[in-house]
């Protein structure tokens, strides 16, 4: 009784709503159609047809969040990812929205006893160590996945990169971002045969249908698990037929490729290398945080020759080597773009870091390659982390780039910034990123 009344109220309430008018297929007025069994089977407290829950989609929520900014309140929705490591150096990743409600809470972190404490039980003396955990969550997990392995590529990076990315996200946006080819943005959908449906659909899913038939017949005792059975004796319930059905799916395909390129020649040793990698680390963290799997990354290092390294971790940790030619790096970069035809489907971004040294004094070959790169890329940003002994003077790279006129001719697509490697602080590095991408 209780329930019936409740349901009627809900229906009534629904109709009273001014905003949304949807067709109501709830029970008709026939009082004899009501019975407990039917009612319980049909009880859907979570169906959006009832006003009981009215779950918003992620897109609606993100729109709402943008509106907040216009209304003068801080944005509240952030994105993070949850990773589940699988065997064979692979991992499954989901992107999750998060939000926090600001309130006055007690801060437990600042106390005289700074150690975290929890409970435990069992044998052992006070002081005895009963468990260990790696401080760096990635140690011991195995490393070195290739850059091409999609979602598992960013695994080796330190845990605080996420945090860093979160902060930087508020400041940056990728410039000149366009929709390219058939790869779409977060908000577009593709229609694929992904969802499963019983009884009807576009394509019979044979494997699932067979499984379902087997399940039904186990329940009916037609199949004895220990014995052979004759498939022709199996009973097929119409509900066992499982079809693939056309459904709307969000397209999470990557739509930008970012190349990180750096000089690791002898002269870079010490401060310049540190500045360049920490700047690239910030850019990388930010991209991973804000654009998630929508961004592919590739890493190139060079001395007199250039080579691709598999992941950011290797890129970050690479030790210094020999002399310096810049052009092979851009040559390799262009080759990758051309052979993989990346410009068709992706926005391309290039970040290059150097101390400004180049054995090719006039930079002719380098400029040729750079011009090619600029045709493909939405933005190319060069950072020069000057050594202290180059103080006051222009470096080789600076000289030939400035005289090439590219900085003015292609100013939408090409930026350069110079830092004093010895003195640069984190703030200056962030400012420099802004210059490169704004």
């Amino acid at each position: 009784m209780e329930q019936l009344n409740d349901d009627e109220i809900k229906k009534h309430d629904f109709e009273g709503e001014k905003n949304e008018k949807k067709s109501s297929n709830t029970h008709s007025g026939e009082i004899y159609l009501w019975n407990d069994f039917q009612l319980l089977l049909n009880f859907k407290p979570f169906n959006s047809e009832f006003p009981v829950t009215n779950l918003k989609t992620l897109d609606e929520l993100v729109e709402k969040d943008k509106q907040r900014e216009k209304d003068g309140f801080p944005k509240r929705i952030r994105f993070g990812k949850v990773v589940k490591p699988l065997s064979g150096n692979k991992a499954k990743v989901v992107v999750v929205p998060t939000t926090t409600e600001p309130k006055f809470y007690h801060d437990d972190s600042i106390t005289e006893d700074e150690e975290e404490t929890t409970g435990g039980s069992g044998k052992g003396e006070e002081g005895e160590i009963i468990g260990k955990q790696y401080a760096d969550p990635h140690q011991g997990e195995g490393s070195g996945e290739g850059a091409g392995q999609g979602d598992s590529e960013d695994h080796d990076i330190a845990a605080d990169a996420q945090e860093l990315g979160k902060i930087l996200t508020e400041e940056f946006h990728l410039p000149n971002l366009k929709n390219k080819g058939n790869k779409h943005s977060l908000k577009k959908y593709t229609y694929t045969l992904t969802d499963r449906n019983r009884e009807f659909g576009q394509l019979l899913d044979k494997k699932e249908t067979l499984k379902s038939i087997i399940k039904t017949n186990i329940v009916l005792d037609n199949i004895n698990p220990d014995d052979f059975f004759d498939p022709s004796n199996l009973v097929i319930n119409p509900k066992d037929k499982i079809y693939r059905i056309m459904s709307k799916e969000k397209d999470f395909e990557a739509q930008a490729v970012v190349f990180f390129v750096r000089d690791y020649s002898g002269s870079m040793s010490g401060k310049p290398a540190e500045i360049v990698v920490s700047q690239h680390l910030m850019i990388y963290s930010w991209l991973m945080y804000q654009y998630q799997s929508n961004v592919l990354t590739k890493f190139i290092v060079h001395d007199t020759e250039a080579k691709v390294v598999p992941d950011f971790y290797t890129y970050y940790r690479y030790q210094v080597a020999g002399g310096t030619y810049v052009f092979p790096a851009f040559e390799l970069l262009n080759k990758i773009i051309e052979t993989e035809q990346l410009q068709k489907d992706y926005n391309i971004y290039v970040f290059y870091g150097t101390d400004g040294d180049d054995w090719e004094n006039d930079g002719k070959k380098m400029l040729d390659e750079l011009r090619k790169t600029l045709v493909y890329s939405s933005r190319c940003g060069i950072t020069i982390a000057k050594n202290s002994w180059a103080k006051g003077q222009k470096t080789v790279v600076e000289k030939y780039i400035e005289s090439s006129g590219l900085l003015t001719d292609k100013k939408e697509f090409f930026k350069m910034d110079t830092l004093e490697a010895e003195k640069a602080t984190d703030d200056e590095i962030i400012k420099s990123i802004k210059k490169l991408i704004q």
Binding site: K56, K103, H106, T111, E115, T117, G119, A135
Partner: protein
């Protein structure tokens, strides 16, 4: 299920006969949990974000909750659709334990007067109709109210029920002991208890004029006492009508009381009352789960329907109620503490005859066969919440009996690992750890004297913990919106200082945050004192 109810009643549990049970899927559980499992709760986007997040995480880490019960009338419980039948019987006992707890524990007193599912539905409809008129601004009001909904006056409201018993002490005497001696004169406990003894002597010598004589004496000692009391009375008069700052803002804000903004007060009320409804549940987690686990174990093991499922039961029960090597499980601790209390009470160990014994051996062997255990735990179920439960009953005997200890976590820099080690087996440390883990929102009051239309002055009562700094600005912006004008918050921050000898020193600094036109400024207002 009716059979279960009969058995539970025979065991002494008390609950309404009507209950509603629903079988739901994991997905349904995920969608309901951000709403505190109340299907009719008002919609709010934060809950939607939470649901989407949970669904995504579920793809990687599927979970399979067995049940949930909500404190409505009739009590509604949800069962996972993949529970086997025998398991649902065990779970139903667990559920009955919860229902009994909801309906008898005095901390739920406020929820006994109405059915929350019905109220929530009405609230939800109201909010929906306001949304059709005021659009997204309804959500902003919900948001700003939720920013302060943990500062609700749950305890104060509950205390009204206690005050049904008449308290014969006069206001002025209460003021003398509770406020004047402690907050103004900063006297120590010794002094205060001496004064109480003196007061009691006066009263017992002369019931009629003892109080007057006592007060005359105070006035001699503290000539300013009378004036202070008058001032206190005036400001107490102003504050008296408000249970918490949410009510205060709602009542006094000129912005909210404008004709065109009155609808906002309805929304604020809904958010506040919803928060108050959830308060007792948050504050009885350990004891409530302990109570339900205690009964499902005891009742299902004596139910003949367990036959054939003994080992499956053992496995699931252990999963729910085992205490882990490292980590805290409220079900497990609560259940063990109840068992411990029952056992102790059976032997008469809460009686004075036992308390006065000092000899270890005599204490261990003490048993007066009082068999009052079962009565004792029903007493506990009626009158205790998590804090009083843990604070009263966790002692060394309990910690020793179940081999409990606190675990510390420290970094071993050489090996790059965190080490977990047994930090302490002392009851006082264990108790402290349990209490630290409990819900305890800060206490924030309005300073009436410094508050007017143009300025709302809030004071945080410092309890050796500062507020989380990151959240202060956004919370204040919300309060400013509701108040319609400048808001100030007086609080204390702990500053860590590195000394020359590498020791760290903690300094408390009083600061005032001011929020005007969504801009936050912070000023320090006194000289640092060492913590």
């Amino acid at each position: 299920m009716e059979e279960c109810k009969i058995r539970a009643r025979d065991a002494g549990l008390v609950f309404d006969n009507e209950t509603l049970e629903y079988i739901v899927t994991n997905r349904d559980m995920l969608e309901l949990s951000p709403k505190g499992m109340i299907p009719t709760l008002y919609d709010y986007w934060v809950n939607d974000v939470e649901t989407i997040k949970k669904k995504e995480i579920y793809k990687l880490y599927p979970s399979n909750p067995y049940e949930t019960v909500i404190n409505t009338r009739p009590a509604i419980s949800f069962y996972n659709d993949n529970n086997p039948d025998w398991l649902n019987i065990m779970i139903f006992y667990h559920v009955l334990g919860h229902i009994d707890f909801f309906q008898n524990n005095i901390f739920f007193r406020e929820t006994w007067n109405y059915d929350f599912a019905g109220k929530a539905l009405a609230d939800k409809r109201l909010i929906n109709s306001l949304r059709s008129e005021y659009g997204r601004w309804v959500d902003y009001i919900i948001e700003f109210s939720r920013n302060i909904n943990n500062l609700n006056g749950y305890n104060k409201i509950l205390s009204h029920y206690r005050n049904e018993k008449k308290d014969e002490t006069s206001e002025i005497i209460k003021y003398y002991f509770n406020v004047f001696l402690q907050d103004i004169k900063h006297k120590n406990t010794n002094y205060i208890s001496n004064q109480i003894n003196i007061f009691n002597e006066y009263i017992s010598n002369n019931k009629e004029i003892g109080e007057t004589l006592f007060l005359a004496n105070i006035n001699k000692q503290f000539p300013e006492f009378d004036a202070k009391f008058k001032k206190y009375q005036q400001s107490a008069e102003k504050q008296k009508h408000f249970n918490d700052i949410i009510e205060f803002i709602s009542d006094k804000s000129t912005f909210l009381n404008k004709e065109e903004n009155l609808w906002m007060k309805q929304v604020i009320d809904i958010v506040r009352e919803t928060a108050i409804y959830f308060e007792p549940q948050i504050r009885t987690k350990t004891i409530n789960e302990g109570w339900a686990s205690f009964w499902h174990e005891r009742m299902f093991m004596s139910d003949d329907r367990i036959k054939g499922h003994e080992s499956e039961f053992a496995k699931i029960n252990a999963g729910v109620t085992s205490i882990s090597r490292i980590g805290l499980n409220p079900y497990a601790i609560g259940m063990r503490l109840l068992k411990f209390i029952e056992n102790q009470a059976d032997k008469g160990k809460f009686e004075y005859d036992f308390q006065k014994i000092n000899n270890i051996e005599q204490r261990a062997n003490f048993n007066n066969n009082s068999n009052s255990g079962i009565d004792s735990i029903f007493e506990v179920r009626r009158n205790f919440n998590d804090f009083t439960f843990v604070n009263t009953f966790v002692n060394q005997d309990f910690v020793d009996e179940y081999n409990l200890f606190t675990v510390g976590k420290r970094l071993n820099e050489k090996q790059g690992i965190f080490e977990y080690y047994i930090k302490s087996r002392k009851a006082e440390d264990y108790k402290k750890m349990l209490i630290e883990n409990q819900y305890h929102p800060p206490l924030i009051n309005v300073n009436i004297d410094k508050t007017n239309d143009k300025n709302l002055y809030l004071v945080h009562q410092f309890e050796n913990k500062q507020l989380i700094k990151d959240f202060i600005p956004d919370t204040l912006i919300g309060i400013e919106f509701l108040w319609g004008n400048q808001v100030q918050l007086e609080t204390i921050e702990i500053v860590k200082q590195q000394l020359a000898n590498h020791d760290t020193k903690f300094i408390n600094r009083k600061v005032i945050y001011t929020c005007k036109n969504k801009k936050i400024t912070k000023t320090q207002i006194d000289n640092p004192k060492t913590a």
